[in-house]
Amino acid sequence: MIEGAGLAEVEFGPIVDTFGGAGGEDSARQFGTYGYPIRAMKP
């Protein structure tokens, strides 16, 4: 999707357990939901 918008060189950084210990942890675990830093550039 990001590349489809005209951006390039998409890269994901280290995974973050965003919801671990928070109220949404159960729902997050259900779908495997985690946070990531993401970078890309405009050619």
Binding site: M1, I2, G4, A5, G6, L7, G13, P14, V16, D17, T18, F19, G20, G21, A22, G23, G24, S27, F31, G32, T33, Y34, G35, Y36, P37, I38, R39, A40, M41, K42, P43
Partner: protein
């Protein structure tokens, strides 16, 4: 608009209500972490937050670290998509210094008001906050060196439209540094239509 599975107006209202609650009652238990805990969990360095208003930090609800690959550089122009109460925008403003500029964009008037108050309290003059949607950024073409965002695109119904807008406001060679959540397993169509799951 593409990829929309919910009533957009209702979704935006639910998001507004949820995040205004975060601002007004940051110590409440939410489905996500807030404040310093959220910042530490995401990997923010303590030094980035020095001098920022406690109220801006308390209502921070980011999901990861858009500055993982580094802060914006001196003199750069930055757009923060979904700037909330402005913590990331103020971190970026301090990084770019007096020769740089930051525009925070948020759809919620209450957030914009708090962000402006926070910047004034911290005496940060190179940041401004504008009302708008991620899919219609109130920023001119090719203005930004860097676009940041934290935990926002996942809440935008038209994600491709938001990324197209990010590409539009970037200069050629400009960078996107966002943080967001991703799912490892397919989300059922019924869940995609469930606004409660979008917002919490």
């Amino acid at each position: 608009m593409t990829g929309v599975a919910v009533d957009v107006a209702r979704l935006r209202e639910e998001i507004r209500t949820k995040y205004v609650e975060v601002v007004e009652h940051p110590d409440t238990t939410f489905h996500f972490h807030t404040g310093l805990r959220a910042a530490a969990n995401a990997g923010y360095l303590d030094g980035w937050l020095e001098g920022l208003p406690k109220s801006s930090i308390a209502s921070f609800a980011g999901v990861a670290n858009p500055f993982h690959w580094g802060l914006p550089r001196s003199g750069e122009r930055v757009v923060d998509v979904g700037s909330g109460t402005g913590m990331d925008a103020m971190v970026a403003a301090n990084a770019v210094g007096v020769d740089g500029r930051v525009i925070g964009v948020d759809m919620t008037p209450e957030m914009l008001e708090r962000a402006r108050e926070g910047a004034e309290e911290a005496d940060i003059l190179n940041v401004e906050f504008r009302e708008g949607f991620a899919e219609q950024l109130p920023v001119e073409d090719g203005w930004a060196d860097v676009v940041i965002s934290n935990g926002v695109i996942n809440l935008v119904p038209d994600k491709l439209g938001a990324y197209r807008e990010i590409a539009r406001v970037l200069k050629p060679g400009g960078r996107v540094q966002i943080a967001d959540i991703c799912v490892e397993r397919p989300v059922p169509e019924s869940a995609l239509r469930d606004i409660d799951l979008w917002t919490g």
